[in-house]
C-alpha cells in the first residue's frame, strides 16, 4: 500500500529548489573517478580512443555527477517518523555529455514523500530530484535519490 496520508513533515519543501553548488569539471577529476571505480570503457579513460568517438574527447562516466550529491546536505524536512533511516535507492539519467572544462550547477528539490507498508511494517520514503545543468544551460543529468525511514525492530516491541 502506498499513501501520503498521516505523514508529518514540512510540506513547504515540496517542489522548492535548493542550490547544491557550481562545480568545475577537470580532466583529472574524470580520470580519478574512472580509475577509483574501475571504469574501463575508453570514452571515459582513453584520450586517443575517445578522440575518435562521436564525443571527440573523454567525457565523464554516466554516474559521475554522484560526486556532487551528498544526502547529508539535504534540508531537514522535519519528517516525523521512524527511528532509523537509510539510502534506499537512486536513479541516474544521463541526458548529455559532461566534458572536461564544463561548469555544472546542481539544484535539488523534494519531489515526493510517501509511505509503504511491507513485511517489516510501515516505511516512509522521501525522494529528492537533483538537476545538473552545464554552462550553456543544457541539462546534463537528472538524479533521483530515495531515503527511507522506519521504526527499528527494537522500537516495535
Amino acid at each position: 500500500m502506498t499513501t501520503d496520508e498521516g505523514i508529518s513533515y514540512d510540506r513547504s519543501f515540496l517542489g522548492k529548489d535548493y542550490s547544491i553548488g557550481k562545480f568545475e569539471i577537470s580532466r583529472r577529476m574524470i580520470i580519478d573517478f574512472s580509475e577509483a571505480t574501475g571504469e574501463v570503457n575508453p570514452i571515459y579513460v582513453n584520450e586517443e580512443r575517445a578522440a575518435a568517438s562521436e564525443y571527440g574527447s573523454i567525457i565523464a562516466p554516466p554516474t559521475f555527477c554522484n560526486l556532487f550529491i551528498n544526502g547529508g546536505e539535504k534540508p531537514d524536512i522535519k519528517l516525523d517518523f521512524g527511528d532509523i533511516g537509510f539510502f534506499a535507492g537512486q536513479a541516474i539519467e544521463s541526458v548529455a555529455p559532461i566534458r572536461p572544462g564544463d561548469t555544472i550547477e546542481a539544484t535539488t528539490h523534494l519531489k515526493d514523500v510517501y509511505a509503504k507498508t511491507g513485511r517489516s511494517g510501515k516505511m516512509v520514503f522521501a525522494v529528492w530530484e537533483t538537476r545538473f545543468v552545464n554552462q550553456r544551460g543544457d541539462t546534463v543529468a537528472l538524479v533521483d535519490e530515495s531515503f527511507v525511514r522506519r521504526n527499528s525492530r527494537r522500537s516495535q516491541h
Partner: protein
C-alpha cells in the same frame, strides 16, 4: 574492448557475470576525487562502522551504483548508458567477492535510437542480491537504418 551492435543481442541474453572486490583504498580514492582526505566514517573505518552497528566498513551507495553501471559501460565500447535505477537492498562490504550480472528484458528503437532495457544485479558470494535495478542503454545499429 569489442564493439557491440543492436543486432548482436536479443531479449533474454545474459550480461556478464563480472566479478569485483572493493577495498578500502578504492573507497578512499573515490571519496577523495573532489579533493581532500576522507575522515573516518562507516565507509572507511571498520571500528567506526561497528560502532554504528554494522559488521564492518561498507561501500558507499554512490560507488555501488557506479560499479554496477560498469557491468554495462564495460560490456562494450559502443554501449551508451542512458539511465540506471537501483534499489539498495543490503550493505556492500569491503574485501568480499561481488558478482555483477544482468539480463536484457526489452529491445526497441525509440525516437530513432536503438535501445535495450536490462535488469542488473550485484550479489555477494552467498547469492544474496545487495543491489538490484534496471537500466536503459543505447547501441548503434550494424547497418545504420537512418
Amino acid at each position: 574492448m569489442k564493439a557491440l551492435y543492436y543486432e548482436d543481442v536479443e531479449i533474454g541474453d545474459d550480461i556478464g557475470p563480472q566479478e569485483r572486490v572493493v577495498n578500502v583504498a578504492q573507497v578512499r580514492r573515490f571519496l577523495s576525487v573532489r579533493g581532500g582526505t576522507p575522515g573516518a566514517s562507516r565507509f572507511t573505518d571498520d571500528e567506526y562502522a561497528k560502532n554504528e552497528g554494522l559488521a564492518g566498513a561498507i561501500v558507499p551507495g554512490a560507488m555501488n551504483i557506479t560499479i554496477l553501471s560498469q557491468l554495462l559501460t564495460g560490456w562494450a565500447e559502443t554501449v551508451r548508458l542512458k539511465k540506471v535505477d537501483v534499489v539498495f537492498r543490503g550493505m556492500v562490504p569491503h574485501d568480499k567477492p561481488l558478482t555483477l550480472s544482468g539480463i536484457i528484458t526489452d529491445k526497441d528503437v525509440v525516437d530513432g535510437e536503438p535501445r535495450l532495457e536490462c535488469d542488473v544485479f550485484m550479489q555477494n558470494d552467498e547469492g544474496t542480491r545487495l543491489v538490484i535495478g534496471n537500466a536503459i542503454v543505447a547501441l548503434p545499429m550494424r547497418i545504420d537504418g537512418s
